[in-house]
Every structure is written in structure tokens, then in C-alpha cells.
């Protein structure tokens, strides 16, 4: 254990890691406030939900009307705006046909044959869930108007997208550095002939995974509190993510489960950490083949690039095109669409879970094999 901690210190005590974390946090602040989201207007929505509840029913509408009459200019304007917007939401949800969405997706991506059939299957399954959203009135809930403020995109696309990349860059850097440290500092002849010897590679992996955990906690643990301090969500934590007001484009967000904002956020945090672990695994494997941490970093970036480019090279008629999407490299691209409808290629109920699980097992197995191989390898 002591060795693991010492390894961990090697990575985290380097000044550049601290500087980079600082730069990441500064950049996140920039992203958070550059959009100029009107905080006082958002606060009114929050108050509406806190005092009247977030379920939109007749009682809500009457009470909102009363509150609007008794308040100041801005609050009245906001309350009236939302009251008007609420009139239109039933219409969309009662007329939306997901089979048409499937057809549009198939045409857009020019899919044929088995691939087109799969897409129809995905949207048929989603249609069942959508009927439930309509029947339960899950969509008739109050949230910051997505068409006006795009708060879902701000948090889960912009901010989470940035955080994932920041964490992954740091993780890959540190993993490559730790694994090749002895070779690059000419200590390999001493370190690997010691009593601990070549088993040390396992300590290095454990230290890299610990570093991953710490970096994830620091980046998410500072960015998210600042975000929720700036944009108050107190009355809205239990609003379903599939709320009609969360919708930002013509097709609303349709989640596979009845997740509240708080649950969705928790799931995203966990999956982000999961992705960070997967990338630590990828970097570890690359490091066991390439003994130069500079090249390890570049090679890992290339692996990411290949993974992202792969689906574009698959034939549009076969199911291979879906298989190529089940990788951590495409998973990290759209955090705002995790656990919900996300276009032709990834709208599977357990897409995120399968991707993580399969890759976790795969990378773990390969890592164990590489660690065993390392014991007998020619250094």
C-alpha cells in the first residue's frame, strides 16, 4: 500500500498537474458564465416550483395566476410566459409519432437493410416508453424553458463534455507517466530487481486508478457546486428529465427510465467516472506496449480518434455500424444524450451500461494478461 501511495505522489505532486487542474477549472467557469444566462429569471422558475410544486395541473395554473397578479414586473412577466407556454405542450406530446422519427433518422443517415430494421426496432421500443411518459403526465412538469435557456445543454453537454475531456486528458497523461516512469528515469534496473520487482507494475496500475478517482472528484467536485450555486435548482431536483420544458429542439428529450434531474445528474457523474476508468485502462495498455510516455500520450489520442472515426467507415446496410458505436470513444461524445433517445445509432435502452460493462471486462482481462506478460518480458 505504501508503494501505491508513493507512486500516486509521483503523479499528483507534479506542479504541471496542479496547473492543469487549475486551468480546467478556470475554463469551466468561463463556459458556465459566457452564455449570459439570466439568473434572476431562472430564480423565478425555481420559486414557482418551490411554492406550487412542479406538476402542471389545473390547481398549479390557477395558483400561478394568483401569484402573478400579486408580484413585481419581472416575476409577472416570467409567470405569464410560462402559463402561455404550458398551453401548447399537450399538443406536441399527443401527436409525436416516433416511427416517423425513425424514418427521418434512416433517411438522414441513408441506412438500408438490416441497419434500417434495427433503427425501427429501437424507436418501436422507445415508443412504448414514450406512451408511458404521456400517460403518466411525466412531461407535464415545470423546468427552465429549454427553448429559451438551453440549461440541459449548458450543464450536460457543454460542462459535462468539457469535464470528461479534461479528466481523460489528465488520466491518460498520468497513467502513461507512472507506468513508464522507471524506464524514463533510468531506475528500471534497480526497481525491477528489488524484492517487489516486476509486481510493481500492478501497484502502478492501482495508483493510476486512484489518481483517476482523485482527479474525477476534484474536477467534478469543484465545478458542479459552483454551477449549482450560480444556477439554483432547489425546487427542481425532482422534475423528470423528460419534462416538456426541458426540450430544446423539436424532438423532446425522452429518457428510458423515469429519472429526475437529481437522479440523471448522479447517473452522469457515475458514468463520467466510469469513462475515466476505461480511459485509464486504455492508456495502461498502450503504455505496456510503448515505453515512451510522450508517444503513449500521442498514441492514446490516436486511438481515441480512430474510435470516433470508426462508425463513419462502416457500411450503412449492416448492423456493424451499431456495434462500432459501442465504444467509450463514442460514448463520451454526447453526455447530454445519455440514458435517452440519442439518434439512430445509440438509442438502445442499455447502450451506456453495455458499453461500460463490456469494455470494463475487456480492458480488465487485457490488463491482467499484460501484467502477467510483464513478469517474464525482456526489459
Amino acid at each position: 500500500m505504501n508503494l501505491v501511495l508513493l507512486e500516486l505522489r509521483k503523479a499528483l505532486a507534479t506542479p504541471i498537474v496542479v496547473v492543469m487542474i487549475g486551468a480546467c477549472l478556470a475554463f469551466n467557469l468561463l463556459l458556465m458564465f459566457a452564455g449570459g444566462h439570466p439568473r434572476s429569471e431562472l430564480q423565478v422558475v425555481n420559486q414557482m416550483a418551490e411554492s406550487l410544486g412542479f406538476k402542471i395541473d389545473a390547481q398549479f395554473l390557477t395558483a400561478n395566476q394568483v401569484a402573478a397578479n400579486a408580484s413585481g414586473d419581472e416575476e409577472r412577466a416570467v409567470r405569464t410566459y410560462y402559463a402561455n407556454r404550458m398551453k401548447g405542450i399537450d399538443n406536441l406530446y399527443h401527436h409525436l409519432d416516433l416511427n416517423q422519427v425513425a424514418t427521418a433518422q434512416i433517411n438522414m443517415h441513408q441506412l438500408t437493410g438490416a441497419a434500417a430494421q434495427t433503427v425501427r426496432g429501437e424507436y418501436a421500443a422507445l415508443g412504448v416508453r414514450f406512451k408511458q411518459i404521456v400517460a403518466d403526465g411525466e412531461y407535464r412538469t415545470l423546468f427552465f424553458d429549454g427553448k429559451l435557456y438551453r440549461m440541459h445543454s449548458l450543464l450536460f453537454r457543454t460542462l459535462f463534455g468539457a469535464m470528461i475531456f479534461e479528466i481523460i486528458i489528465l488520466v491518460v497523461m498520468m497513467t502513461g507517466f507512472l507506468v513508464n516512469y522507471e524506464f524514463e528515469h533510468d531506475t528500471s534496473h534497480v526497481a525491477y530487481t528489488s524484492r517487489r520487482g516486476r509486481r510493481m507494475i500492478r501497484d502502478k496500475l492501482v495508483a493510476a486508478l486512484l489518481a483517476t478517482t482523485i482527479v474525477s472528484i476534484v474536477i467534478m467536485g469543484t465545478t458542479l457546486p459552483v454551477y449549482f450555486h450560480a444556477y439554483n435548482y432547489t425546487g427542481l431536483w425532482h422534475v423528470p428529465i423528460s419534462s416538456a420544458f426541458n426540450a430544446e429542439y423539436s424532438l423532446p428529450y425522452i429518457s428510458w427510465w423515469d429519472l429526475s434531474i437529481a437522479q440523471f445528474l448522479a447517473a452522469c457523474v457515475v458514468l463520467t467516472y466510469g469513462c475515466a476508468l476505461l480511459f485509464a485502462g486504455v492508456a495502461f495498455l498502450v503504455s505496456t506496449w510503448i515505453r515512451n510516455s510522450y508517444l503513449v500520450f500521442v498514441a492514446s489520442a490516436i486511438v481515441l480518434g480512430v474510435g470516433v472515426a470508426l462508425p463513419g467507415l462502416m457500411p450503412n446496410s449492416s448492423n456493424l455500424v451499431f456495434l462500432s458505436e459501442f465504444t467509450p470513444f463514442t460514448l463520451i461524445l454526447n453526455p447530454h444524450l445519455w440514458f435517452m433517445e440519442s439518434g439512430a445509432f445509440t438509442t438502445f435502452k442499455f447502450y451506456e451500461i453495455w458499453t461500460f460493462a463490456v469494455w470494463f471486462v475487456l480492458l480488465s482481462l487485457l490488463s491482467v494478461l499484460r501484467i502477467k506478460r510483464f513478469r517474464t518480458q525482456n526489459l
Binding site: T14, S293, L295
Partner: protein, 384 residues
């Protein structure tokens, strides 16, 4: 000189070359190929492109008032062709459409039959004659309103940059304003050169990074310091890095322009960037070709500055982790901001005219200072 040559040879070793090739292929596939494969991008852009090419062939790069009047006459001819198209097909008469003017006025208030026919002719049949007319109307409209700029009523134009309003007034009455240069040709080039710039920055950063690290890792520095060249080695390495970058940028840009030639935009090269069909106005009079040269020169300068910065990073990093960290920060700034703020936006009237010279001056002074200080320190540095 021999040492410089050895350093260049070391920089271009096969492993780095392989990585550079992979980076180029992936970035091309992900970010660049789109702008080659989809130019002009669908309709009506392809119709506008055809029209632009035809106009340049007919009137040259500048369409003066008499040429414009001729163009309007040919538009009237095309309207007649469309009328004929309509009159020879009975389904139009059934829907209550007897000529082009009536066809054009089909809107939400028209009968459903007329709306369906309108959609069918344009979207399903893709009847060229109507698309062409639509393009011609758009061009005529923009030519007739050429005294209005994109920034005309914008707060940007009214803000307190001295000379901006005068420049806009001067541009709209100039001959250059009458030249033919569609906005999507310029935008397509900008998108391409910006993404190519990102590729070049990344390549240069990867190529230059190991220049000092490699020798430090092999403990070669000690041997090199006691040689005749001694500590002047860093300056030789710097020169080698600059030459390597120059070679790499030249190769990548050559490939880029060979591919770009297939977009077939050379007929617009002599047109002014201040054309009535372009969305941008520049502080100075440049043709499209001169603008391309300007961006290429800027790209070379930026790539060389990035190289100097990376040499500095490489020479002060105690380990690869530090080097990679600094390079990532540099690559991020270059990819996110440099590619347009310091390249394609040069001369744009939305910015104050002195911004770009000033920015370049400050960056050059900054990097030159870093490099000189590092060279001086190198002479007295303790051996680790």
C-alpha cells in the same frame, strides 16, 4: 550546419512520422473531408455556384452596371422558359398555376393542390429551371442592395472604431463591391484552412516536443555540452526545429491545396473579398487569391511561433509529464482561438484595424523574450 541537419534527421524518425501520418488521416477523416466532399453543399448552394461560374465566364470577375442589366435581361429569358415549362404541363393549370409569377407566389394561403405541386416540382422532380431562377433572384436582390453591408445596421458598425463607417461607405461604392465572389466559396475556404491549421498546429507540436527531451532522457546532453559546439547546441536545435516545421507545414499545405484544387474555385480568385455576394468586409482591398496568400503566410508565421514556444517548453521540462501538460494547454489555445482570431479574421472590419498587428507584435515579443532568456540561462545552467 551539420549538427542542424542531424537534429532534423532525428526529429523525423520513423515513429514520429507514423504518428504524424495517422494524426493527418484521422483529422482529415473527422474534420476536413466534409468540406471537400460537400462543396457546394446541396441546393440552392450548387445552383448559386453554377450561376457564379457562368457569370464570371460571361462578364469577368467584375459585374458592372451594364453587365448587371444584361444579367437581368437573361433572367427575363429564363422566366419565359419557366412559363413555357408550366404551360406545357397540364397539372399546373389544374392547380390554378398559369405562369412563373403565380408559381412563385404559392404559399401557405394557396390551395393544397398548388402547395403539393410546388413541393413536388422543387423537391421531388428537382426541376433545374426553378432552382436557377431562385438563385438569379437572390443574386439580383443582393446586387441591388449592395450598398447595404452585412454590418450596415449592426451595433458593431456604429461602435467607436475610428474610420469604420467611412470604410464601409467607401467599400460599397467601390468597383470591388461589384465583383463576383459567393459567400459560401469564402466560408468553405475558411472552414478548410481553419481545420487544416489545427492539424498543422497539432503536427508541429508533436514533432517539436521531443527535441530536447530525447537527449536529456538518453543522457546525451552531458556529452554534447563538452563538445566544441557546447551549450550553443540549444540555438542549433532551435534552428533545426524551425526548419523541420517549415518542411512539415509546406508538405501538409501542398497536399491541402492539391485537394482544394478539386473544389474548383479558381475562377473567383481575381474577385474582391468585398464582393456584394460575400458576407465579410475587409479593412483593405484584397482579392480572394490575395486573401488565401495572406492566410497561408499567417499560418506559416503562427506555426513557427508555436515551434519556438514548444522548443522552450521542451527545454525547461524536467519530465515528459510536464512537457505533455504544457503542450496540451498550448494545443488547446492554438486549436480553439488562434485558428480564426489570428488567421482567418485578419482584416475583418468587425475588429479594430490595429488589433491584429498589435496581437502579432505582442506574441512575437513574448516568445522572443522567452527564447532569448532561455538561451542566456542555458550558458550558465548547472548540469543535472
Amino acid at each position: 550546419m551539420r549538427i542542424v541537419w542531424y537534429e532534423i534527421r532525428k526529429a523525423f524518425n520513423w515513429r514520429i512520422l507514423l504518428l504524424l501520418a495517422l494524426i493527418a488521416v484521422i483529422m482529415y477523416q473527422l474534420f476536413i473531408s466534409f468540406y471537400f466532399q460537400h462543396f457546394p453543399n446541396g441546393r440552392p448552394e450548387s445552383d448559386d455556384y453554377k450561376l457564379g461560374v457562368a457569370l464570371v465566364n460571361k462578364y469577368g470577375n467584375v459585374m458592372d452596371t451594364s453587365a448587371f442589366n444584361q444579367f437581368k435581361l437573361s433572367y427575363d429569358q429564363d422566366v419565359k422558359a419557366a412559363d413555357q415549362y408550366i404551360q406545357t404541363r397540364p397539372e399546373f393549370a389544374d392547380a390554378g398555376i398559369h405562369n412563373y409569377a403565380e408559381f412563385k407566389n404559392v404559399d401557405a394561403a394557396s390551395t393544397e393542390q398548388a402547395q403539393n405541386l410546388h413541393g413536388k416540382v422543387l423537391l421531388t422532380d428537382q426541376a433545374d429551371v426553378f432552382w436557377k431562377l431562385q438563385s438569379e433572384e437572390y443574386w439580383i436582390d443582393r446586387y441591388e442592395h449592395k450598398s447595404q453591408t452585412f454590418y450596415g445596421n449592426n451595433t458593431v458598425a456604429a461602435s467607436a472604431v475610428p474610420g469604420r463607417i467611412e470604410r464601409l461607405q467607401q467599400v460599397v461604392t467601390s468597383k470591388g463591391r461589384m465583383s463576383i465572389l459567393p459567400y459560401f466559396v469564402v466560408n468553405n475556404y475558411m472552414n478548410l484552412i481553419e481545420m487544416t491549421a489545427v492539424l498543422i498546429f497539432f503536427s508541429v507540436i508533436v514533432l517539436t516536443g521531443p527535441i530536447y527531451m530525447r537527449d536529456r532522457r538518453n543522457k546525451m546532453i552531458h556529452v554534447q555540452y563538452v563538445s566544441r559546439t557546447g551549450r550553443r547546441l540549444l540555438s542549433k536545435k532551435t534552428v533545426a526545429a524551425l526548419i523541420s516545421t517549415f518542411v512539415l507545414v509546406t508538405i501538409e499545405l501542398s497536399v491541402f491545396f492539391m485537394l482544394y484544387a478539386r473544389n474548383k474555385t479558381s475562377m473567383f480568385f481575381a474577385s474582391s473579398m468585398n464582393s456584394f455576394m460575400n458576407d465579410r468586409v475587409l479593412w483593405f482591398n484584397l482579392t480572394f487569391f490575395q486573401y488565401i496568400v495572406l492566410t497561408v503566410v499567417a499560418l506559416y508565421v503562427l506555426a513557427l511561433l508555436v515551434t519556438l514556444l514548444v522548443v522552450w517548453m521542451s527545454s525547461i521540462s524536467p519530465n515528459t509529464l510536464t512537457l505533455i501538460g504544457m503542450q496540451v494547454l498550448g494545443a488547446f489555445l492554438a486549436a480553439r482561438y488562434m485558428r480564426y482570431y489570428l488567421m482567418t479574421d485578419i482584416g475583418d472590419i468587425r475588429m479594430a484595424p490595429f488589433i491584429h498587428p498589435l496581437a502579432y507584435l505582442l506574441i512575437i515579443i513574448g516568445i522572443a523574450t522567452l527564447t532569448t532568456l532561455r538561451w542566456r540561462r542555458e550558458r550558465r545552467l548547472d548540469i543535472q
